[in-house]
Structures are given as C-alpha cells and as structure tokens.
C-alpha cells in the first residue's frame, strides 16, 4: 500500500485553506441562503415528493456506480464509500417520507377542522380554528 503521509504533508496548506474557506464562505451561505430556501421547500408536498423520488433513484445509481468502480479498480475503500452513500441516501429519503406524512396529516386535520376552506391559506394559520 502506498504511504499517504508525504502527500498529506505536502497538501496540508491547501487542506487548511480549504477548511478555512469552508468556515468563512460556505458555512454562512448554507445558513443564510440554502437553509431558508430548503425550509420553504419542506412545506410543499409536491416538492418533498419530488425530492424523495430523486434521492431514492440517485442512491441506487450512485451506489451501483461506486460498486462498479470499486470492482474494476479493486478498491475496497470505494466499495465502502458506495455502500455508505447508498445507506445514507436511503436514510435521507426515509426522512423525507416522514416529512411527507406530517404534511399530509396537517393538511387532513385542517380539512377536518375547516371543511369549507374558509381562510385556509397557510397550513400554520391557527386563526382558522378560533
């Protein structure tokens, strides 16, 4: 097995700068731009359904590609990454299913409590019941 320490030492400044760049640039972007968009997306049933299907399909495609790569290059690490990727993507899809269940439950309860749909604009509009 090739020793990776010399490579790591040479790449250390670049890795340090990458980590620093992540903290300074990517982290605020995730907090201020990605997350507000994402939490809005999670309120829409159609979008969550789309994300769930996309994620489930990608988990199989990515996993299969990784296993194929790992077998052709005889790399155990890549096979492990591929299996972990598959498991985590399926886990995330399962989280989205749980989200979908909540959205549907909320929608159903709002319909029961307000069958005529009066003021049923926002799912969290509690004034509907008062």
């Amino acid at each position: 097995m090739t020793s990776f320490w010399p490579y790591l030492v040479v790449l250390a400044p670049a890795l340090f700068c990458t980590a620093l760049g992540f903290i300074v640039t990517v982290s605020p972007w995730v907090k201020n731009t990605l997350m507000p968009w994402y939490t809005t997306t999670l309120q829409s049933e159609a979008k969550v359904e789309y994300l769930r299907d996309l994620c489930s399909n990608l988990s199989f495609m990515g996993g299969a590609a990784g296993i194929a790569f790992g077998m052709s290059e005889n790399s155990l690490a890549t096979k492990v990454v591929a299996i972990t990727f598959f498991a985590m993507a399926q886990w995330y899809a399962w989280d989205l299913v749980a989200r979908l269940e909540r959205l549907r439950a909320e929608k159903g309860l709002l319909q029961v409590s307000n069958p005529l749909g009066v003021q049923a604009v926002a799912s969290n509009d509690e004034a509907v019941l008062d």
């Binding site: 997350m35 972990t84 749980a98």
Partner: protein, 49 residues
C-alpha cells in the same frame, strides 16, 4: 486510485455530509409539525366535546 475514482469518492462524501445537514433540518421541521398537529388535535377535541 484513478482520477475518476477520487472524484467519485470526493463527490459521494460531500453529498453525505450535506445529507446529514439537510436531514437535521428535516427533523427540526418535523418537530414543529408535530407541535402544530398536536395543537390542531387538541382544538378539535375541545370543539367536539
């Protein structure tokens, strides 16, 4: 390791890290939904009794 293999591993690991962050956001939204659902159920029960 070939270049394609390295690219695959980096992309897969990055996606997994993002998956953890996004999964945590889902749990947070689900907790808020659970609270709203419990509130709606409570109000419905009050109305029917």
């Amino acid at each position: 390791m070939s270049t394609a293999l390295i690219i695959y591993n980096v992309v897969a690991i990055t996606l997994m890290v993002f998956g953890i962050v996004l999964g945590r956001a889902i749990s947070k939204s689900n907790k808020e939904s659970d609270r709203r659902i419990a509130e709606l159920k409570r109000k419905l029960r009050q109305r029917t009794t």
